[in-house]
């Protein structure tokens, strides 16, 4: 046992002594969260829109005015017929059309309810979703102010995503970045650190020592579990304090799921190290086999629903996909284990699977 702790201590020394490792471990997560966060949130500015106002009453004008003066949108055209909508959208001149039903103010005052239709160009689904959310925000803000004035009104906004009808939540950068960072640090750093020992020749000596293979693996992994976990917490805190992303569900469950995902990524890292003889190879495999799928196929940036069927099928094999769903559900929807148990089970199964192969492949000999 003592020899095992000696091993873990040595791993920590390696990490703390290498400024580059420290930077990757602690600088990168913060930088990535901030970059992704601001790139996503800053996208909305002077978005060209059009209004099709069938009502043309005081209220619709007031709302239109409010939307334009928000700074997020720029009114390009006031349409008169729904025939024009399609043509303008196709040309790409406008990203959204706001359609007020005839007699908007009248029905709002009479029934306390009126219809607004938002038509968004969802060829860029992320932006479309954001635009709609912002517009809705302004509409409800208006409604709130009216309600405070003593009346009880209600909007019935109908959103229709044009060109990408089934769009679901993609505004998910925090869970996505979290998946990416944990994958990168856990898998890439462990695989590199094992490959480095092979390069140095120290692995030969470790192999001929009385340490058992699983002790070497666990010893390599423990420091990265601890550090990745700290990272997960840092990202959650950043999301909360900088971007106002709430943690609606159980914090304990959230952290436990993080731990599960970290373990999964680590077992992938060990698996990679068993097939790579040098640090370079380990890094390339980590980047191409883990990072790119995490970014591209997990639904982090590109919605899975828009992908060709074959990629959709492949995405079922991507661990980050499940992790992102879990994190989203816990943080934003506030769900408990009752709803995410399936995904959790899948991740757990994957972890056991990869870990078993990794330990089996991690040989006691050189070939």
């Amino acid at each position: 046992m003592k020899s095992f702790f000696g091993f873990v201590k040595k791993e920590f020394l390696h990490i703390f002594r290498d400024p580059r490792t420290m930077l990757v471990l602690f600088g990168m997560p913060v930088a990535l969260v901030l970059i992704f966060g601001y790139v996503v949130t800053n996208e909305i500015k002077d978005i060209p829109i059009a209004v099709l106002d069938h009502s043309k009453d005081e209220m619709t004008r007031e709302i239109t005015q409010k939307i334009i003066s928000s700074g997020y949108f720029k009114l390009m055209a006031e349409l008169t017929s729904s025939n024009d909508v399609e043509a303008m959208m196709l040309k790409g001149d406008i990203k959204e059309v706001i359609i007020f039903e005839p007699g908007f103010a009248v029905s709002l005052q009479k029934d306390g309810k009126a219809d607004v239709q938002l038509l968004a160009d969802a060829s860029d689904p992320n932006t479309a979703n954001l635009i709609v959310n912002y517009t809705k925000g302004i509409l409800f803000d208006y409604l709130n102010k009216q309600n405070q004035a003593g009346t009880s009104y209600q909007f019935d906004t109908r959103v229709r995503m044009v060109y990408n009808q089934s769009l679901k939540g993609v505004y998910m950068f925090v869970p996505g970045t979290m998946a990416m960072i944990l994958m990168l640090i856990s898998a890439m750093m462990t695989s590199i650190s094992i490959a480095r020992e092979k390069e140095l020749g120290t692995m030969e000596v470790l192999m001929v020592s009385p340490l058992k293979p699983f002790q070497i693996i666990i010893g390599k992994v423990i420091p990265y579990i601890v550090l990745s976990f700290i990272n997960a917490v840092v990202i959650i805190l950043l999301g909360f304090f900088v971007f106002g992303l709430p943690v609606r569900g159980s914090l304990v469950l959230l952290l436990a799921e993080n731990l599960l995902f970290i373990s999964l990524a680590l077992s992938l890292g060990i698996l990679i190290s068993t097939v790579s003889e040098s640090q370079q190879v380990a890094m390339f495999i980590s980047l191409f086999a883990l990072m790119l799928p995490t970014i591209l196929l997990s639904g982090f940036i590109y919605p899975i629903e828009n992908m060709p069927v074959i990629l959709q099928v492949i995405s079922y094999a991507m661990p980050p996909k499940y992790f992102i769903i879990i994190i989203k559900d816990i943080m934003i929807k506030g769900e408990g284990l009752g709803l995410v148990w399936e995904e959790t089970l899948i991740l757990f199964g994957m972890m056991i699977f990869f870990l078993l192969i990794a330990v089996k492949r991690f040989k006691t000999r050189l070939e």
Binding site: K2, S3, F5, G6, F7, K9, K10, L13, H14, R17, D18, L200, G201, T202, E204, V205, L206, M207, V208, S209, P210, L211, T364, R365, L366, E367
Partner: protein, 299 residues
């Protein structure tokens, strides 16, 4: 201590070891001498149970390297060709790490490594990556000895190290041997063969000869002469043209010459060289060295 019986190892198309057999006795300082690519490293990796032979049997201290590798790993100290040190850890941290990994402590076996470690102890807080070649070598040796192994296996420990450090290193190996530890060492330097009790010559995956260094030299059968002249390069070329030549090889500022018949007629040879207009010809009969024997064996 080590019993190697007809081991063969192939990598795809190349044969690294071709039916190699030899024995190393308890407490012996045994050398494996041969150039790069002769198969020394593969052989050592098989003995340390890091590689499996394709065929043949290796026993270490009565234990089979395939079945009982765990037991063997406890009693062996191994220093691979590249000094297996963590460059980003200090001297002391490296030593302590290897001590704990092998389930012992620096204190417990300090007396064994004291002579070696005391050279580098003044630098114990320096990173291993910042040590000179000679100091790295001493540290790696201390690390390999820290668990007081019964068998110490060193793969080319003196390659790339300066002459002074090499000499010190061999003095240390003698001391370790006196502690009752069997030492198996490989080297590409012929002159180091003389410092071992027994050696095997290895070349192209095969064992060429096994004996004590003196025994190997004694087996040299031909007359050997050293010839020198003003223009050494032309001398070598001309000697190789001589009808009875077996070999003419440069040894520093001399040429070691042997004849096909084994005997050398001094007057005829000098006559020939004078006819080729060589000046200042020096000719003397010499005793063969270990390198002459190796060259004879591989030619």
């Amino acid at each position: 201590m080590i019993n190697i019986f007809q081991i063969t190892k192939k990598y795809e198309s190349t044969t690294a070891l071709d039916s190699v057999s030899f024995q190393v006795d308890d407490g012996e300082l045994f050398g494996v001498i041969g150039p790069d690519g002769a198969g020394k490293t593969t052989l050592f990796r098989i003995i340390t149970s890091l590689l499996l032979p394709d065929s043949g049997k290796v026993m270490v201290n009565g234990l089979d390297v395939i079945k009982d590798y765990r037991e063997i790993r406890k009693i062996t100290g191994y220093m691979p060709g590249r000094f297996s040190l963590y460059q980003d850890l200090t001297v002391e941290e490296n030593l302590q790490f290897y001590a704990t990994v092998f389930g012992t402590s620096v204190k417990k076996n300090y007396d064994l490594i004291k002579d070696i470690y005391s050279h580098i102890e003044p630098f114990k807080n320096r990173l291993a990556g910042k040590l000179s070649g000679g100091m790295k070598q001493k540290l790696a040796l201390s690390c390999a000895l820290i668990h007081r192994p019964q068998l110490l296996i060193l793969d080319e420990p003196t390659t790339g190290v300066d002459a002074v450090s090499r000499k010190e290193f061999w003095d240390m190996l003698k001391k370790i041997q006196r502690e009752g530890i069997t030492v198996l060492v490989s080297t590409p330097y012929m002159d180091e063969a003389l410092l071992c009790e027994r050696v095997v010559f290895m070349e192209k995956a095969k064992i060429l000869a096994m004996d004590s260094p003196q025994g190997l030299i004694k087996a040299y059968s031909r007359d050997l002469v050293s010839v020198s002249a003003d223009d050494m390069h032309r001398l070598v070329v001309d000697l190789r043209k001589y009808p009875d030549v077996n070999s003419a090889l440069l040894f520093g500022h001399e040429v070691h010459y042997t004849s096909r018949s084994g005997r050398i007629n001094k007057d005829e040879l000098i006559n020939y060289l004078q006819k080729e207009r060589h000046n200042n010809i020096k000719f003397r009969k010499i005793k063969p060295g270990i390198e002459d024997r190796f060259l004879e064996l591989i030619s």
